[in-house]
Amino acid sequence: MIWVWVVGIVLLVVAGFAAAYLPRARARALRQRTAWSAARAAIASAAISRDAVPDDVPEAGDLFARAELLVANGGGVAAAEEAADCAERADRLWREAR
């Protein structure tokens, strides 16, 4: 009869892991999509600022290229945050240049 206990315990442990893991996985996916969405929004905003500036701002251009590269490569939350950060800095530089 020991196997009843073993199976029961294994089931309980698996159920416990599943109950803890699934919502976390879902939340992680949501965080990731959110981060990329924020990054894309920041890049779009920066692109508009770039188009509004007549002169060339090389530093901002580099940052912007980097952000676009990151978006193209994809990745996790950290990559998305980095991309958003680069895009925001580029945006700020272009706005100041105007």
């Binding site: 999509r33 959110t34 924020a38 508009i48």
Partner: protein, 445 residues
Amino acid sequence: MTRVVAQLHRLRWAFLATAVVLLVVFLLAQRQTVDVSYAQSPSGEDSVTEGSAGELTDTDLPSVAEMTAMLDEDPVVRLPGSIADWDEQLVTEAIGDADIRVLVTPPGLTEKQQDQLREVENATILVVGTEITGTMYGVSADDVAGWRAQFATGDVTSLLLTLVASEKDEDSPPDIDLFRWRAPTAAELAPVVADLRADRLHVADGATLESMPDRAATAFPDQEPLFAVFPQQPFGLPVPEYGAALAEEFPDTPIVVMYGNWAEYHGPDAESFSDVVAAGVYSRFGDRIAGYAYPQANVLGVYLDQVTDVRYAGLFDRPLPYQPFDPLRVALPVLPWLFALCVLVFLGLSVRSVLGPGGGPPRRAPARLAGLTTLAIEMSGLSRDPALVRALSKLEAVRRALAEDLSQRLVRRLLDEAESELDTAARELGRADYRPANYLAGGIA
């Protein structure tokens, strides 16, 4: 700030795990004992157990009717094999003309045979071996002299007198000690001494011990003891006092002398623990030893175990031996509090996540989006400011985020940014009424 909060949030699982570990440790550690002992006494477990120890004699009792008839005829019936004796004159005087009948049987009866004895209704007093029961009460000896008389010579005079008084509703008489010592003769002593010198063990004719008891080494770890074992001594005659004589012959050697079921110790420190050991053994096991015919080896084993236990029990104000510091014993009382603390911290940190997602009206973001979009469209005919274009791009991002059900925080941030861009554009335009704070002050119609 939000980083710290998120860290704390993750930390609550660590607190929960700690709480579970504490609980498990606490439950597993609940194996406390109440032993007060010098380390763990290596004596055996309780040696007196039913049946298996050879304490039953294969006695055939007469039938209940026969025994009743025998008692009707004679007030004292002594079945063959009985070992109890008493001073008949004293007991007869005590009984007087009361109708008290005594049935004496051999020791070591089975449960069934004891039930049979209880069915003999005219037996006032039952003497099984040397165990004595009346109609209501039983009596047993309660001091060393009483046990010695009962187990060394089968003398139950004092017990019988007490029980007779009880049956007659009288006060208990004082104990009578009919036990007498005498010095053993040289002829008696010589073979004992010779045996002890040869192999440290003397078993007299009629004694049931077969070999050196194996628990002697734990009871007397410092010196090998001597054992002199004799059968139960005849009642009414002085008993040869081998103990004292042997102690003279073998100074500074532990000597255990046994008469019948009575074991006594002579030798070093006899005065400090022989009474303690005797009281320990015979007060606990006296009734069983009296009613059953245990082999002497068993009684001696119990006696030696008691010697061992006394040796390890720390009864004599000796300094306690070094006991290593046990952190578990110290930490144990704290564990429940730590557990409670961990649970509280976990709950405290969880409150935010339980109440958090429910907060915030869900319609706010779409409403703001609608308002800001209206404003942006209205301004788009007047302004060519990049801030307006950025605001439109951000509003588009908000729409996508709402459609994809992304986090409310992002939506709110994008809306804030769009609002500030629109504000910038309105100020560039010089139209304060287009600033979002003014434009949206009344809400969307």
